[in-house]
């Protein structure tokens, strides 16, 4: 792996953060966070633990397709798609895997939208 200037700067910053341990008065640790390098290890392993929980446990259990609640629910492009264009797009590509049809909530409501989907942002 080629070391860039950014790698070197980041390495220096890590050393700088660790060298802060050398400054200040030494006191007898009372709590676990009083031990040297505690917060460096907390950052390192905390990141691993949270990533492991999120990606290893939560994600396999709770991940669903973006149109899980219905095709209208998978919001995306903000620029060009008016609701009418979206309806056309949906009609030409049938959705999959829906658990609940949101269109049932919205069908027949008065004042159906006719403006672009960016809420008057220009």
């Amino acid at each position: 792996m080629k070391l860039t200037i950014w790698h070197r700067l980041f390495g220096l910053a890590l050393i700088g953060a660790l060298s802060l341990e050398l400054l200040g008065d030494r006191t007898t640790p009372v709590e676990v966070w009083d031990y040297p390098l505690f917060f460096a290890l907390m950052g390192l392993f905390g990141c691993f633990i949270l990533s492991l929980v999120a990606k290893g446990i939560v994600s396999p259990a709770l991940d669903r397709p973006e149109d899980f609640y219905g095709p209208e629910d998978a919001e995306g492009d903000w620029t060009s798609q008016s609701p009418a264009a979206r309806a056309d797009a949906r009609a030409s590509s049938p959705a999959t895997g829906t658990a609940s049809d949101v269109s049932a909530e919205t069908s027949g409501r008065p004042g159906a939208p006719t403006e672009p989907s960016n809420g008057g942002e220009g």
Partner: protein, 577 residues
């Protein structure tokens, strides 16, 4: 005669006037409202109150004290910054509802009684829902309806608790609550707005679907008003420590997985409000100062985060990390503004979050709750991981998406608002004295002690190292994650079938029956003499028939309803007598 009035009324008055202002100047007139509110607040002195008598109750529409003032200042400030961000906007509905929303939030924080509180609380719910609805897409409409559903539920809990509280104490005063059923109901109402797990899903559902400018306002008011009310009514309630911890960790876990950039930020509201709720639960002066100051800085940096991501969505038309990437060269200014906010929320030294979040954690440390301290530090790691590293990496760096991104220029006012927001986050980070000077209690905490700096730098840099090592495993996926809104989203059809349809049937039966009864009576009433003689109605002419259908039946129905109402009232009065 009326005494001091709440600054919220200034914003509400402008919200009403705005539709009558010429379109070309409307955005500028908008800005006058928060400026006047700020001037009004600057004239407030702690201890100032306004009291009215309503029937036998004493109302206090305005109560000025340090706690209310902290929230008052920042609410008015963020309304001004949000107004600048929205100068280009040509939608008077959004502009008026934003002012109405901000005004009612200000009204709620200066409310000294529960009646005034719930009055503004309910206005807030409807005005904010409009900012989601105003995007005018099917999903934003549905999301706004779910948002309203949840907030009406929360408002009902609050109203029930208030009525119960009045019946028990006879007082409308909004002060610290004693434990009991009314207090629990009121706390439930506050918890819904504070996005306490499991009542939090509305935030990740609605905020990513709000308009670009609307979500900036949304990020500021609802949850922080709830934090204020919790700090006022429930300091030191231990359950809030654990509720806050759950929020802090739950929020970051979902944020790590989210694909939509504003959904990442929405989950981080849950997480950051968790820090505040924990501080309130600890309830010491240090922890309450921490929670209050964190609410203040949170409004500043979260507003900037929503402004920067909103600007990116405006420029690219995309909101998902899987559809973004490699945009640094095209949108460098937006990236740097975003990073100021991201470093602030991660409590990096010299940024605003560094003067507030560590104060909350120090509150837990001094309260002798090591588990709480460790879990809050873990949540801090998750904050930097998802908002400070993952989101910017996969949005502005990382690999480019398959479909090229077209970047259009953003209005000057968006840059101006982000610049002001970024400047305030940095100034407050290096010079916390102005904020510390207005906190409810005297501040003895110094974030820039060596210990604090060591903690701040080590956590951030080593989280960065870990991210560098596992970045490929954190690549976003085009997925959503099930959350507690699943309960009311999938059960909606069943709820309709079992709760709405039977009621509709009862009403339909009642309508048919009463119409048939009125129709029969009307026919008998055409010739009552014939009925008395023969027991049957007399012969009907064409005139009679048309009169029966056009006038007689509805009139008879009205008479029947009136009679039933009078009988009902008489029965109730006689029973009570």
């Amino acid at each position: 005669m009326f005494g001091a009035f709440t600054p919220g009324l200034i914003l509400i008055a402008f919200a009403v006037l705005l539709p009558f202002v010429p379109k070309a100047t409307r955005s500028w007139v908008f800005l006058a409202a928060p400026i006047l509110a700020l001037l009004h607040i600057s004239g407030f002195t702690p201890g100032m109150t306004t009291s009215w008598t309503l029937a036998t109750f004493e109302l206090t529409p305005v109560r000025v004290d340090p706690l209310a003032n902290v929230f008052g200042w920042i609410f008015a400030l963020v309304t001004l910054i949000g107004g600048i961000y929205a100068i280009h906007l040509k939608d008077v509905g959004q502009q008026s509802s934003a002012l109405l929303y901000a005004g009612s939030a200000l009204g709620a924080v200066y409310a000294g009684d529960l009646f005034t509180l719930i009055f503004f609380w309910e206005i807030m719910a409807f005005a904010s829902a409009y900012l989601v609805w105003a995007r005018r897409t099917d999903e934003s409409y549905a999301s706004a309806m779910r948002y309203l559903f949840v907030h009406i539920f929360g408002g009902s809990l609050l109203l029930g608790g208030i009525l119960w509280q009045i019946s028990e104490t006879g007082s409308l005063a909004f002060n610290t609550f004693e434990s009991g059923w009314p207090a629990w109901l009121i706390l439930g109402g506050f918890a819904v707005n504070a996005a306490v797990v499991p009542f939090h899903a509305w935030i990740a559902d609605a905020y990513p679907r709000g308009t670009i400018t609307g979500s900036v306002f949304l990020s500021a008011f609802t949850t922080k008003t709830a934090v204020y009310t919790m700090a006022r009514g429930f300091p030191g309630w231990e359950i809030l420590i654990w509720a806050g911890l759950l929020m802090a960790l739950y929020g970051v876990t979902y944020a790590i997985l989210s694909n939509d950039i504003r959904r990442v930020l929405a989950y981080h509201i849950v997480s950051q409000v968790g820090f505040m709720v924990t501080g309130i639960g600890i309830g010491t002066e240090l922890a309450l100062n921490g929670a209050t100051s964190h609410a203040y800085t949170h409004i500043l940096y979260k507003g900037l985060l929503f402004m920067a991501t909103g600007a990116l969505i405006y420029a690219t038309g995309r909101s998902k990390m899987t559809e973004l990437g490699g945009l640094f060269r095209q949108t460098p200014a937006i990236f740097w503004f975003y990073m100021v906010a991201a470093l602030s929320i991660s409590s990096a030294p010299f940024f605003s979050g560094f003067i507030s979040k560590p104060m909350t954690i120090a509150g837990a440390e001094y309260a002798g709750t090591p588990t709480v301290v460790l879990l809050l530090h873990l949540a801090s790691v998750g904050t930097f991981l998802s908002v400070g590293l993952k989101l910017p990496w996969f949005t502005w760096f990382g690999s480019k998406p398959d479909t090229p991104v077209t970047v259009k220029p953003i209005p000057w006012n968006m840059y101006a608002a982000m610049g002001i927001g970024a400047g305030m986050n940095i100034v407050l980070g290096v010079w916390p004295a102005p904020l510390y000077g207005i906190l409810p209690y005297e501040v003895t905490f110094d974030p820039y002690e060596l210990k604090g700096l060591k903690k701040g730098f080590q956590i951030l840099l080593f989280t960065g190292l870990a991210f560098y090592l596992i970045v490929d495993r954190l690549k976003p996926k085009p997925k959503i994650q099930l959350d507690t809104d699943w309960v009311y989203r999938v059960s909606k059809d069943a709820a309709w079938r079992f709760m709405v349809v039977p009621v509709q049937r009862v009403f339909a039966w009642g309508e048919r029956t009463s119409w048939a009864a009125a129709s029969t009576l009307a026919r008998l009433g055409i010739d009552p003499v014939s009925v008395a003689r023969t027991g049957r109605p007399g012969p009907q002419t064409d005139d009679h028939r048309s009169a029966s259908t056009e006038l007689r039946v509805p009139m008879t129905l009205m008479v029947l309803i009136s009679a039933a109402t009078i009988v009902g009232i008489l029965v109730v009065v006689s029973l009570r007598g």
